[in-house]
Amino acid sequence: MMVEVNNINKTYNEGEITAVNNVSFAVDKGEIFGLIGPDGAGKTSIFRILTTLLLPDSGSARVDDLDVVKDYQEIRRRVGYMPGKFSLYQDLTVEENLRFFATVFNTTLEENYHLIEDIYQQIAPFKTRRAGKLSGGMKQKLALCCALIHRPQVLFLDEPTTGVDVVSRKEFWEMLRKLKQQNISILVSTPYMDEADLCDRIALMQNGSIMSIDTPANIVESFPKNLYAAKAGDIYTLLKQLQGDEVVESCFAFGEALHLTFKSDQDADNTVKRIVAEQQLDDLEISRITPTIEDSFIRLMRENATETETDGK
């Protein structure tokens, strides 16, 4: 195991805020492991504990078989960390930043160039430009190069694609797939549920706790109910009506369709027929579909909800 986390807890403000609540997971060699969840889920605290920048209140964690508290100096040599906030030197050029990070880790740009070649080629035309003057997508690529230049065993990427457009996001995940082939283990976090499918395994996180850990396929497979998609011209009216229907357990908007589950899946075909007949919308279509990670996430959130606020009805 490249990363092992055992019952980690972390609170702030003298215990007032629980950031990480009894979290355990492990990341294999060459695995892409995703922490999926919104802001405040505890993702960044976990990253900071594993990169030895923050001490846990309790629990233990090992990175490359080293203890995050006792062996912090050695861990820092072996990991690459790309924080959520851009933290390269804005006044240094692209190339200067890279050389700086290589020197700090006692290596050279040339020695490990093969590791970053694919990514660096995309920013090489701007190598004399100051990092502060780069676009978001370019900064992200440079930050990844700087995190890789000392040939780390594990890469920690904290929300590398947040606020980045769809095209750059796709390119970034393409790069991660190539790094995986070099047997580098990657722990990556994201608030975008559609990126979960690109990970080998994921942990769905909310309010400091892990709600579920598995492969994306298994998480989707364990969705306990039939899931239906409803489409109609006036989707907002349909949403309100279905949320008010007593046989409906949950109903949420998903792009152009509504995703819904029924309280009981017995006789579901007739329930669908009854709803279609009652709604009297000539363009209404309801069909059974396979859930997405986001469907599973919402379901787990509802099951775990203690606050009445997160009720989908």
Binding site: G136, V167, Y236, M301
Partner: protein
Amino acid sequence: MSKHFGDFKAVDRITFDVNEGEIFGFLGANGAGKTTAMRILCGLSFPTSGQAKVAGYDVYRQQEKIKKHIGYMSQKFSLYDNLTILENIEFYGGIYGISRGEIRQRGDALVKTLGLDKEAKKLVGSLPLGWKQKLAFSVAIFHRPRIVFLDEPTGGVDPITRRQFWDMIYQAANEGITVFVTTHYMDEAEYCNRVTVMVDGRVEALDTPARLKRQFQSDSMDGVFYQLARKAKRTSD
């Protein structure tokens, strides 16, 4: 409308209309010119050439009028963390010239609708992010603007709150407030009445999500966006 910075055409001859009460999605790759265009429409910067009117007011001559009649909210610019919910409402209401009596009355009603009665006197900083964003939206339309500009309002928010947020957007639109919204979540593009996609400073597509999907032969807005934004030359800059 165009906006140039030296030789750089941040916004390059864009043309569109937004109807009253419409939910208008304003999409584009990073660096496509969305923020520059939005700043002009919010009365914060002048175009280099072309014409534009917001809520009937001219972007060159009537910037202050524009500011009075629009609402604005972004993921970053939110509320004051060290003021309470009621104090934030009072502050923003006061800035827009609403009387104290009316602020109190409507503020109480708002807090009730949001289900935040018990938290009304708590500091905003202590609220979970999802509640903050819902409150920020309510405050942005507290002075009943003609149009509200939302700049990535749901970034980083959990999937249930994201949907509750869109419920509020629909409700505002039903009450006649025009909604101008940017987002990186392509499923949210589907919730808009019409969507524009900006590429390299130009409006490359403008239509309903259904028609855009047909035009680009894609089953999702994700696919439409990808086809358009991939052609961008500027993202590599």
